[in-house]
């Protein structure tokens, strides 16, 4: 047993000439939430579906829970859970019937009542799927993926299209899964989501990983902090790697001269700044 739940080396995949994934490598440690962050078309779904065994890579090696997903086994499927980016369930079955149906496919399912509670659908247990809202359907997607009590969970854009309240609720759920010890691969194009949920993030841009690290590590590297203020009605912007010293000098000077630094602000770089600078088109 390796400590890594997922290992990907030099993975490549193209679709008739379109290079969707261009030689990426990363690993996901057991028990961590790994965020694959990138704009639409970056290659997130392609990568995830290769790990799930739906698509075949053109080159590279992939190991998911010690198995090559090109040759999946039933035991391996017992241990993974999949929330696809899109897709429906049976419109005429209820929430509870779905969970029972899928629970029946696994040797050791998680009790359906627990799953209902985890995804917050207790009140909708006997509602037919076609009467559910978009957010409730997405939670049922998660429930169906969880009912087999998997070790590794793939979540492909689990909160896309949610309103802010629903997104926060979904984040709570994902956090509680993490504390159950599950390994989670989460794809998203929301920076905040990656920042809030992921232990480590890989930023994907046009099929390439342009940065990997914890959210703190990513924001620790460039770009620099920004200091801005107004002096004599003129707006001044400074960029610095050492905001403490620059701020000290600025304020000291202003105090001595009896001047005021109006609208003084210090911006720490957020993951968003990093993300935008990394995913910006360079040409």
């Amino acid at each position: 047993m390796t400590a890594n739940a997922v290992e990907v080396q030099n993975l490549q995949k193209s679709y008739d000439g379109v290079e969707a994934v261009r030689g990426i490598s990363f690993e996901i440690r057991a028990g961590e939430v790994f965020g694959l962050l990138g704009p639409n078309g970056a290659g997130k779904t392609t990568t995830v579906e290769i790990l799930e065994g739906y698509r075949r890579p053109d080159a590279g090696t992939v190991s998911v829970l010690g198995i090559d997903p090109r040759r999946p086994t039933l035991d391996w499927r017992e241990r993974i859970g999949v929330v696809p980016q899109s897709g429906e369930l049976y419109p005429n079955l209820t929430v509870l019937e779905h969970l029972r149906l899928f629970a029946g496919y696994y040797a050791q399912p998680r009790p359906v009542n627990e799953v209902l509670e985890l995804v917050g659908l207790e009140e909708k247990a006997s509602a037919k799927t076609r009467t559910l809202s978009g957010g409730q359907r997405r939670r049922l997607d998660l429930g169906v993926a969880l009912v087999g009590d998997p070790d590794l969970l793939f979540l492909d854009e689990p909160t896309t299209g949610f309103d802010p309240g629903a997104r926060r609720a979904a984040w709570e759920t994902i956090r509680s899964l993490r504390s159950l010890g599950k390994t989670i691969l989460l794809t998203t194009h929301y920076i905040e989501e990656a920042q809030r949920l992921a232990d480590r993030v890989a930023v994907l841009r046009r099929g390439e990983i342009v940065a990997t690290g914890t959210p703190a590590e990513l924001t620790g590297v460039a770009p620099a902090s920004r200091i801005s203020y107004r002096k004599d009605g003129e707006r001044i912007d400074l960029q610095t790697e050492d905001p403490t010293r620059v701020l000290h000098e600025l304020t000291g000077e202003a105090l001595r001269g009896g001047a005021r630094l109006e609208a003084l602000e210090v911006h720490r770089p957020t993951l968003e700044d990093v993300y935008l600078s990394l995913t910006e088109e360079t040409e």
Binding site: R77, P84, N92, G104
Partner: protein
């Protein structure tokens, strides 16, 4: 085995809950039988009792409606909505799933045939089939043939939206020219020639011979051979064309 029963029960629930599907494939042949049999069942059709003629025709129509049209629609809708793809990620073995789906739709068809025979007996005093085993064998052969063709057909349908139009446009005209509703004698020779090549006319003929003329299924090797041939064609198409993932994207 436990998994198979689990899935079979789910399939039955899904079928009867999908009201449109249950109505068009299970109920409609029964309703048509009652209507047509009351209208002209007491006349003689093709040298046979009109009731029996219609009964055989509606059983053939039922086979096409359930195991061909119903199965194809159900699979296309599940494929395009992503349900089949999701199932592939679970430990449910592919063959268990496919066997459960097939067994479920064949069960619906057999139930339909039983209801038709019982109604004919109760409402129109038609004698019960003298050779139940032969009848059962013929129905199973027909169901297998149409199910194979139904799965094969899913390969040609690209979207869930257009699927029922395509399926209906295929099997309803064939049902007519195969003489399910009334004698095919009135149709132009060209249409009848087309019908002769297709499996439904042979299935209806086999059912009729078993029920009306009390023949055993194997007394008509030609008809059996045509059905078996179509069953093989359908199986090849089914194995090559079946997809778990949506075709549209």
């Amino acid at each position: 085995m436990r998994l198979l029963l689990h899935q079979l029960r789910a399939e039955q629930r899904l079928f009867w809950r999908t009201r449109e599907l249950a109505f068009f494939t299970f109920l409609l042949p029964i309703v048509f039988f009652l209507i047509f049999a009351s209208a002209y069942g007491d006349e003689e059709i093709d040298g046979a009792d009109g009731y029996l003629h219609l009964l055989a025709g509606m059983i053939g129509y039922g086979a096409a409606a359930t195991t061909f049209a119903g199965l194809a629609l159900l699979l296309v809708i599940r494929r395009e909505s992503g349900v089949l793809k999701r199932l592939r990620a679970t430990p449910l073995p592919a063959w268990t799933y496919i066997v459960a789906v097939l067994a479920s739709i064949v069960f619906v068809f057999l139930l339909e045939a039983v209801v038709l025979v019982a109604l004919a007996r109760l409402a129109f005093d038609v004698a019960l089939p003298g050779r139940p085993f032969s009848l059962f064998a013929v129905l199973l052969l027909g169901a297998a043939t149409f199910a194979a063709l139904g799965i094969g057909l899913t390969a040609l349908i690209r979207s869930a939206e257009g699927s029922s139009a395509v399926v209906n446009a295929l099997y309803l005209p064939v049902t007519f020219i195969s003489g399910a509703f009334f004698s095919a004698d009135a149709f132009p020779a060209a249409l009848r020639a087309i019908a002769e090549v297709l499996p439904l006319v042979h299935l209806i003929r086999l059912v009729r011979d078993v029920m009306v003329f009390d023949q055993a299924a194997w007394d008509r090797p030609g008809a059996v051979a045509v059905l078996v041939a179509w069953c093989l064609v359908g199986s090849v198409l089914a194995v090559r064309g079946f997809r778990w993932e949506p075709r549209e994207r």
